[in-house]
Each structure stands twice: as structure tokens, then as C-alpha cells.
């Protein structure tokens, strides 16, 4: 049986609604008709999640034809991008902005440029230049301290 995107989305939204209900049940201030308290806003969201999620799920059961979101290669690209950003943040934490940023920019521009004609020298100039621009704009001009890692 083919599971549609809408069915998955609907199920996830319903699950989120149930999770929110469970979470708000631990709030100390009770919900009253005369004063709804802190449960009101997330409670409203939870009700919305359950109703809308169920509706989206049922629509998914009715309508089985849908466009492909991403092909297999696209999914790999998406996951690698997320992992690359996480790695960049981690490297910035330990080695600082000045090492992490040019390396990340060079690696990402090389990967993104796949299929285009680019020279490594251009990408190196771009990576170093962009790092310098960010440093000048944020730290020198606007006074923000960028992460220095172990060099800080």
C-alpha cells in the first residue's frame, strides 16, 4: 500500500498535537472558563494540530496522486547540507570563526559548483574574501565578537 506525503504529514501533526496535550497537562495553573491561563495558547495549538492533522491524513487517503518532493539524489544533498551546517557550528565552537568559515565556504562552494566551470583559485579567493568581509562587517564595523574557539 502506497503511503502518501499527506498521510505522513497528517500523522506527524496529530502526534505533535498529542505530545503538546501531554506536555500542557503538567502545567500547574489550571484551565478555567473564567481564566484559561498558560494552557490556553498551546492548548489551542494542540486542538488545531489534532483536527487539521486528521483532516490532512484523510485528504491523503483520498488523493493518492502527488508530485515527487525530491529524488534520491536530492534527499542525499539535503541531509549532507544539514550535516555540513552542524559540522560547521561544531568546528566553529572549537577552532573558531577564522578556521571554520573559509574551510566551510570552500567545501560548500566546490560542492555547489558541481557541473559548473569554476577554478579552485576563484573558490579560495571567494572563501577568504567572504570570511574577511564578514569579519570586517560584524566585528570591526559593528563591534560583535565572533567565535574564536580555542584561540579566544
Amino acid at each position: 500500500m502506497k503511503v502518501t506525503r499527506d498521510q505522513i504529514t497528517g500523522a506527524v501533526i496529530v502526534a505533535l498535537g498529542i505530545f503538546v496535550f501531554v506536555m500542557i497537562s503538567s502545567f500547574k495553573v489550571p484551565f478555567k472558563a473564567s481564566y484559561p491561563g498558560p494552557k490556553a495558547l498551546p492548548g489551542l495549538a494542540a486542538i488545531g494540530f489534532v483536527i487539521c492533522g486528521a483532516g490532512i491524513f484523510l485528504e491523503g487517503c483520498r488523493n493518492k496522486v502527488e508530485k515527487t518532493f525530491l529524488v534520491k539524489e536530492g534527499w542525499i544533498k539535503l541531509i549532507v547540507n544539514i550535516v555540513a551546517i552542524a559540522a560547521y557550528i561544531l568546528v566553529m565552537k572549537y577552532l573558531g570563526f577564522f578556521i571554520a568559515t573559509p574551510v566551510y565556504l570552500y567545501a560548500l562552494s566546490t560542492w555547489y559548483a558541481k557541473g559548473y566551470e569554476t577554478k579552485p583559485v576563484t573558490r579560495i579567493i571567494f572563501s577568504l574574501g567572504m570570511t574577511a568581509v564578514i569579519f570586517l562587517a560584524y566585528q570591526i564595523a559593528f563591534g560583535y565578537q565572533l567565535p574564536m574557539g580555542i584561540f579566544g
Binding site: 495558547l41 490532512i56 525530491l70 536530492g74 551546517i85 560584524y138 559593528f142
Partner: protein
């Protein structure tokens, strides 16, 4: 105002003030254009510089930063599809598709013209009506604020591109994210998981750029880049648009201006809301609503005119009541207090010259921004000539650094990545982003006003017994059930048609 004319003329012809006005506008435009930075941040950053200045130059500099930041927001939205601030979110919907179609110059020209019209005329209206209109605001209570927020969230579902359930889910997610942190009034910790970074709630920069910006770039790469549009700047004649463009959109402009002015006037609301409401109204009243989201200039006119009209509107309660219209006016009230100016009803009697100077400076800033953008307009489209394999990595890094500088913590970068993943999941499920953002921005205002209303009357009935509140809430409920109402009407019409056919 006329009795203050000599003081105002002396201030605006002072060479130092003129220089500060020019510099402030340029910095503001740059801050407005760069994603993650905005006019509020510019004001915040440069405010300490003004402490050593006298009141006149300080006001000129701070206001020029604010106006430049508000006006420049459309540049990033049009050219990059990433809003520089919440006030230019709706500009992305049609401004960026226009740029993709090779009409970047036209979109920019519309943006700067609409910004000028919105700012200039709202300052004029503000100066004329400040004292009178402020009195009306005393009649508006938390019931009306709640109704307005509720209506704004449900109205934006009209731009959910057809699927109300997905739009509502997105709005609910926005409300959930808005409820993270300590609740108003009761100080109940919600969804904080004992994490100190979540106690104060989720930062707008992190959520906005994560869901709107970073996820967009990741998905664009995963799907494969479209060929880059070429922008022929030689095709831009004059300011890129003709006077007839303004004439054709005059109703849309006036409507958006009034929406911006009205929403800007209401305390706590500002350009972040007005641009979405005006866009939604423009779509609903357009002869071609299906063209919205595909590069329709009407969308850019509506968004930019309204968000800039909110400036004049926000200045009215700021000056007359001492109540901030938005986050930036809150900063300005703080800065002016340091300069010995206590904003409120008495300010017109005690420092009327300074108050009217503020409105005049805003009007002049609008004109200066227009000229600066007209000169720089041919330079802005050059950004589109930067290949995606350079532009997107650079933008991802700038977005992450923006998150970092928000609180000098890499934890915020991690949070931005989390919201980028949420943005990707939303794209997979086909959930629209704008209801989430609107609900996230309005959630806290809506909740605190709802709780205040219940504290006052302890019943839900008051939301419907107060006339203005009732109107807002009824409109909101109608918006939620509009697909059902439409469906019922369609069935009735179909049945009638069948009867006529059978009879024939």
C-alpha cells in the same frame, strides 16, 4: 506646529544634522537589506553614540537609522527572497518571483516608490492627527487587541495557497513556538525542558531566518538550481516604473497605506503585521488573485506601502501616549528619555517642537532614502549575477553568524539549524510558512491580551459584547470557516444550475 517652525528649520538645515541624516539613512538601508540585520538592530547598536549628542542631532540620527532600515528591507526580499526583517516578509512572495523573471529593477523601483509614499504620507498624517487620534486609543482594550491578532492570523490563511488545513496547521505551529518560555502573567515555564536558552522564548531572528532562509537554500540546492536570471539594468528608465504604474495601483496603494497606518498606530503591532494583512487584502480584492505569488507587482506595492505607512502610525501612540508601536519605537522611547524627553500626553505641551521635529525628520528621511535608492538601484541587481554556488554558501554563513550575534552564543546557531530542518519538513508536507511566522509574531500579544481580558471580566462573552472586538472576532471566525461557507454556496449554486438544466 507652525509656532515650532523656526526651531525645526534650524535643526534640519544644520550641516551636522544633514550629515547625520545621510549617514544614518545609508547605514539603515544596508542594515535593512542584509538578512538578519534590520533597522531596530541599527538603532540599538548606534544608540549609545547619541548619548553624547544634544537632543536634535540624536533624534535626527536615530530616526534616519530607523527609516533607512525599514525602507531597505525590500532589497533583500526582492533580490534574495530572504526577508531582512518581518516587515518585508510579504514582499518576498511576489518581489522575488519578479526578480527571478528578470524584473528585479522594476520590483526594486516599486519597492522604493511604495516605501517613499508609505513613509512620507504617514509622517504627514501622523503630524496632523497625533493629538486627536491618540484619544481614540484609550477606548481600545485587550478584547480588541486579541480580536485584531486573531483576525490577522486567520486572514493570512487566505495566502495559504488553497489548503486551509495546512495553513491552520502552520499557524498552530507558530502559536506553539510563540508559547515557548515563561508564560505572560502566570510565569509558567512552557516547553523549556529546563534549558536556560529557552526560558526567554525563541528569538525571532533564529526562527525567521531558519525557517524562511536557510531551509529555502538547502531545498533549492537539493532540487537543483534554476538558471540565473539576467537583469538588464539599461532597461531601467528613470526610476524603473512609470507614473501610470502608480495610477493603476492607486486603490491598492491607498488601501495598503491605510492598513499600515492603522496597524502601525495600534500599540505592539507594526510593520511585521501590516505587510501581511495588506498583501492578503490586495490578493482578496485583486481581479487576478491567482497571479499572487508568481511575481505580481500588486503584492509588492501592498507590502511595501503598508509596512512603511506603519512608521507614521507607530509614531502617534509613541509620541502622544508614550506607548511603543513596535520594538523600534520602544527603543526610541528609551533613548529619548535619556535625552530628557518623557513621551506621553504632556509632551505636546512641554516639548512640542521636538515632537514635530520627529515627524518632519521622518518625512525628509523618506525623500533621502528614495534618492539614495534611486541612485543605488542599478547596483542592487548585480547581486543576482553572483552564481548560486557562491551566493548560497555565503548566505548560509551570514545567516548563522546573524544567529550567533543575536546573543553571542553558538547555541543559537544550533537552534537556527533546528528551525531550518523544521522548514524542510514543512516544505515536504506542503505547509505554508507565512501563517507560522504571523502566528509566531502575534502569539505573545494575542495571549497576553486574552489573559488580561479574562482577568478583567472572567467571561468569554465580553469578546462579543464590545462592538469593535465583536467585529474583529466575527471576521476571524468567518475567515476560518470560509472554505466551508464557499463549499456550501458552490453546492447550492450547482443544485440551482441542475434544476435550470432539467427544466430546460
Amino acid at each position: 506646529m507652525l509656532e515650532n517652525a523656526a526651531f525645526i528649520i534650524a535643526q534640519i538645515t544644520n550641516p551636522l544634522n544633514l550629515l547625520l541624516l545621510l549617514v544614518g539613512n545609508v547605514i539603515g538601508i544596508v542594515f535593512g537589506a542584509i538578512p538578519g540585520l534590520n533597522g531596530t538592530m541599527a538603532v540599538m547598536l548606534f544608540m549609545p553614540l547619541t548619548y553624547g549628542m544634544s537632543t536634535g542631532p540624536a533624534i535626527v540620527f536615530l530616526l534616519s537609522l530607523w527609516i533607512g532600515g525599514c525602507s531597505g528591507g525590500f532589497i533583500g526580499s526582492v533580490l534574495l527572497g530572504i526577508p531582512g526583517s518581518p516587515s518585508s516578509v510579504a514582499t518576498c512572495f511576489d518581489g522575488h518571483p519578479m526578480a527571478k523573471k528578470g524584473q528585479a529593477g522594476r520590483a526594486l523601483a516599486i519597492g522604493m516608490t511604495a516605501s517613499f509614499i508609505g513613509t512620507f504620507f504617514s509622517a504627514v498624517v501622523g503630524a496632523i492627527l497625533a493629538q486627536t487620534v491618540a484619544n481614540i486609543a484609550f477606548a481600545i482594550g485587550p478584547w480588541e487587541y486579541f480580536g485584531l491578532c486573531f483576525m490577522a492570523i486567520t486572514m493570512v490563511l487566505a495566502i495559504s495557497k488553497g489548503n486551509m488545513l495546512k495553513g491552520l496547521s502552520s499557524a498552530c505551529l507558530g502559536l506553539l513556538l510563540a508559547s515557548v518560555g515563561y508564560s505572560p502573567i502566570d510565569a509558567q515555564a512552557r516547553f523549556t525542558f529546563d534549558n536556560m536558552y529557552l526560558m526567554g522564548g525563541l528569538g525571532m531572528t533564529v526562527v525567521l531566518i531558519g525557517i524562511f532562509g536557510v531551509s529555502m537554500m538547502i531545498i533549492a540546492h537539493a532540487k537543483g538550481f534554476d538558471p540565473l536570471p539576467t537583469v538588464d539594468t539599461n532597461m531601467i528608465k528613470g526610476i524603473g516604473i512609470k507614473f501610470s504604474d502608480i495610477r493603476e495601483n492607486i486603490v491598492n496603494i491607498i488601501r495598503s497605506f491605510l492598513i499600515g497606518l492603522g496597524i502601525g498606530f495600534l500599540p505592539g503591532m507594526g510593520s511585521g503585521l501590516s505587510n501581511l494583512v495588506a498583501y492578503s487584502m490586495a490578493k482578496n480584492n485583486s481581479k487576478h488573485p491567482e497571479a499572487f505569488g508568481t511575481g505580481n507587482p500588486e503584492g509588492v506595492w501592498a507590502s511595501e506601502c503598508s509596512n512603511n505607512a506603519s512608521i507614521g502610525g507607530a509614531m502617534i501612540p509613541m509620541a502622544a501616549l508614550g506607548i511603543p508601536g513596535d520594538s523600534c519605537t520602544a527603543l526610541l522611547i528609551g533613548a529619548l528619555t535619556i535625552h530628557g524627553l518623557e513621551m506621553g500626553p504632556m509632551v505636546f505641551r512641554n516639548s512640542g517642537d521636538i515632537v514635530y521635529l520627529m515627524f518632519v525628520v521622518v518625512a525628509i528621511c523618506a525623500a533621502v532614502c528614495f534618492v539614495l535608492q534611486a541612485i543605488g538601484m542599478r547596483v542592487f541587481p548585480q547581486i543576482l549575477k553572483v552564481p548560486y554556488h557562491y551566493m548560497y554558501p555565503a548566505l548560509i554563513v551570514v545567516s548563522l553568524i546573524s544567529a550567533y550575534v543575536d546573543s553571542s552564543s553558538l547555541y543559537k546557531c544550533g537552534m537556527m539549524l533546528f528551525f531550518a530542518v523544521i522548514g524542510c519538513i514543512m516544505a515536504y508536507g506542503g505547509l505554508p510558512q507565512s501563517p507560522l511566522i504571523l502566528a509566531f509574531i502575534l502569539g505573545p500579544t494575542m495571549e497576553s491580551n486574552m489573559l488580561k481580558a479574562f482577568q478583567n471580566t472572567e467571561t468569554v462573552a465580553t469578546f462579543f459584547t464590545r462592538p469593535i472586538s465583536c467585529v474583529f472576532n466575527v471576521i476571524a471566525i468567518c475567515c476560518v470557516f470560509s472554505p466551508v461557507i464557499k463549499m456550501v454556496f458552490a453546492r447550492v449554486v450547482k443544485k440551482e444550475d441542475k434544476k435550470v438544466d432539467t427544466a430546460a
